[in-house]
């Protein structure tokens, strides 16, 4: 037989622990916002133009597409997977839709076509990852090449010119309501929709569960494969939409729009505090990450930094961002430990 006793009363430590834990979780979005504020403030101080209507509009427009992709990507990453093919999907969609519109399609069918193509790509990735159990990296790196190839094949060296595109589309890319451009508006709406779903709905939480521990999720009766498939589907659709918006924004596209963006998107997600190992993070963070990256880029130009230094500085800032955040987390963790037990 075994000893019979009572456990120490741990209520106190738990409470303080909880607050600290909350703090850690909030910290990410918080520190991002602070970093942004500092950066924008500093830059604007040097060059007020940065905050001129035009300046702000440019930043918002530039962020919109990256943020959209980051939102989709973070959904995949949260399930402990990865989608390297987004860049290629954007390129493919931008060109194919451009081609269709140039040959007289309506805008709405065009948008639908774009999202449909994106969905198809996402579905392919999702099926291979979830049902055929091919590692996400293999699949999406493979489809990165495939979609890119298909896009070049379709394009065959041609270019879509703004002149041939319906004005309605172009105005979607550059127009605004009440001074707020459409693109960022679309992104924000989608971001909040997905963010809310992931937080407030049982099925939404299951994405986190899967990323946190696939085996446990399976044993808990979570439909793992369906969810993973869904994540890729969403990422695909958003990449498709992003492709259309890209077309709307830039008007001129050749085959390789957004190629190489996969890493950019992933950096945004990582900076945004979505754990690459899954289960942690929010789409808001990811979007903020995208905003931060864009602002850094813009600021460096506005601050007249030598173009040869820009990339280096961007990289350095990226590293600082994640390092600081990490150090902060470690600090809080230690605090947690010291407070957690024995008073």
């Amino acid at each position: 037989m075994t000893a019979t006793t009572t456990r120490p009363e741990p209520a106190a430590r738990d409470r303080s622990a909880r607050n600290l834990v909350d703090l850690v979780f909030r910290a990410r979005e918080l520190s991002l916002v602070l970093a942004l504020a500092a950066l924008v403030g500093g830059t604007a101080a040097v060059n007020p133009n940065f905050l001129s209507g035009q300046g702000v509009e440019d930043i918002l427009l530039n962020t919109a597409i990256l943020a959209l992709l980051a939102v989709g990507q973070s959904m995949v990453v949260i399930t402990r997977n990865l989608d390297l093919s987004v860049g290629s999907v954007v390129g493919l969609v931008a060109f194919v839709v451009g081609d269709a519109l140039a040959s007289g399609w309506g805008v709405v069918p065009g948008v639908v076509l774009g999202i449909a193509i994106g969905a198809a790509c996402g579905l392919l990735n999702g099926l291979l990852v979830s049902f055929c159990r091919v590692p996400a990296l293999v699949v999406t790196l493979g489809t990165l090449y495939v979609f890119q190839g298909v896009c070049h094949y379709v394009a065959a060296g041609r270019q879509i010119n703004a002149v041939n595109l319906p004005p309605a589309l172009l105005s979607l890319g550059n127009g605004a309501v009440l001074g707020v451009p459409y693109l960022p508006l679309i992104t924000v709406v989608i971001m909040f929709a997905i963010g809310y779903y992931l937080r407030a709905y049982p099925s939404g939480r299951e994405f986190y569960a899967i990323g946190s521990s696939p085996e446990a999720a399976r044993l808990a009766g979570v439909p793992v494969r369906r969810r993973v498939l869904a994540a890729y589907l969403v990422s695909g659709c958003l990449a498709g939409l992003a492709g259309v918006l890209w077309l709307a924004r830039f008007g001129t596209v050749v085959a390789d729009s957004a190629n190489g963006w996969e890493l950019l998107v992933i950096s945004a997600v990582v900076v945004g505090g979505v754990a690459i190992t899954g289960g942690v993070g929010s789409v808001y963070g990811a979007a903020l990450g995208a905003l931060l990256l864009t602002v850094i880029g813009g600021a460096l130009v506005v601050l007249r930094v030598n173009p040869f230094w820009q990339q280096a500085i961007t990289g350095a800032l990226l590293l600082i961002a994640i390092s600081v955040d990490r150090v902060l987390a470690l600090r809080v963790a230690r605090l947690l430990r010291r407070r957690s037990r024995h008073g």
């Binding site: 940065f50 209507g53 060296g157 270019q159 550059n174 830039f250 008007g251 390789d256 007249r304």
Partner: protein, 336 residues
């Protein structure tokens, strides 16, 4: 001690191109069924495509055939794999727009050792590694005329910037050198080149770089973008921004890309040569080389179909002609 740059460059230079030894026979007939290969910087660049297609047309005129192969990224290394394969396949001539004049040198030499003629166009390879360079326009002239064009439009006054392609693009950098040199002249004393930005011949990057320029330099009066991708992207941003009408944009662009911006007044004038003629001339030059009409030595002449007789200039350069300036009045006469 050790091997330093000085110790190498002071050493005797590479032997002159083997083929130059052979004598030229101006009246030799153009061989039948020549196999030419166009190797552009990258295949999905519309400008490059136009050139190559025109080249193929010309080849048709002398019963030869020309194909276009190339990498999807404008990098020297991937271009070199293609030089190798073309060499293995044994073509009569390779026409190349080099991504890196030096990097392509070795492989091109290997090709020439197999008796393949090398003609560079658009962007030159190191002179000792090619037989001919078909220059769209004298680099000197391009550089200077661009500055003159802009100066005229901004009244020789104010800050200007350049939006180039990639930082390593040879032709771009040569032109920019001449622009800077032109700007040292007295009549430009009130003009200041404040920045050279790089759009990497990527539409979106060029677009955002333009944004940056205009914000960073509020007093900017003019932008020169001597690349078709860059000038189109810049025009598109300006046309949709508050800077329209404030900032003068010029550069090198294709009429089809620029038409709308000329019409909506964003761009007044821009320049370019006819890329079709470039490809056409390149094909004929290659044919002449292979057929032994010319060897690439200065002063030799050859017939280039509808473009008439052409003479080889210094350093084996053949110049297409002066760049042509497009504006509202004439732009509709062109379609490329």
């Amino acid at each position: 001690g050790g091997t330093t740059k000085s110790s190498v460059t002071s050493a005797p230079a590479q032997p002159p191109a083997s083929s130059a030894a052979a004598a030229a026979d101006p009246d030799a007939p153009i061989k039948q069924g020549l196999k030419l290969a166009f190797l552009p910087k990258q295949i999905n660049n519309p400008y490059m495509t136009i050139v190559a297609e025109a080249g193929a047309e010309a080849a048709g005129e002398f019963q030869g055939e020309a194909k276009e192969v190339g990498p999807s990224d404008a990098s020297a290394s991937s271009q070199i794999s293609y030089i190798n394969t073309l060499t293995q396949q044994g073509h009569d001539a390779i026409l190349i727009s080099a991504n890196d004049p030096n990097a392509v040198c070795g492989p091109l030499q290997q090709a020439r050792d197999k008796g393949i003629k090398i003609v560079s166009y658009d962007s030159d390879a190191a002179p000792e590694c090619r037989d001919l360079f078909i220059n769209q326009a004298s680099s000197q002239e391009v550089g200077r005329s661009q500055v003159q064009l802009l100066a005229g439009m901004i009244g020789h006054k104010g800050e200007i910037a350049i939006l180039s392609a990639t930082a390593n693009a040879t032709n771009q950098n040569t032109w920019i050198e001449f622009m800077k040199d032109e700007l040292t002249k007295a009549e430009y004393k009130d003009m200041e080149l404040v920045k050279v930005a790089y759009g990497d011949d990527d539409d979106q990057k060029s677009f955002t770089e333009t944004q940056g320029l205009l914000q960073a330099y509020p007093d900017l009066k003019g932008i020169i973008s001597p690349t078709t991708v860059g000038v189109a992207a810049a025009a598109r941003y300006i046309s949709g921004s508050k800077y329209k009408g404030e900032v003068v944009l010029t550069g090198l662009g294709t009429p089809n890309q620029m038409r709308q911006f000329v019409k909506d007044g964003t761009v007044e004038k821009f320049a370019l040569w006819n890329p079709k003629d470039l490809g056409y001339l390149a094909s004929y030059a290659a044919a002449a080389l292979v057929s032994g009409q010319i060897t690439g030595a200065e002063g030799e002449t050859f017939k280039a179909g509808k473009l008439g007789e052409r003479t080889i200039g210094a350093k084996g350069e053949v110049i297409l002609g002066p760049p042509f300036t497009f504006e509202a009045s004439n732009i509709d006469d062109f379609d490329f």
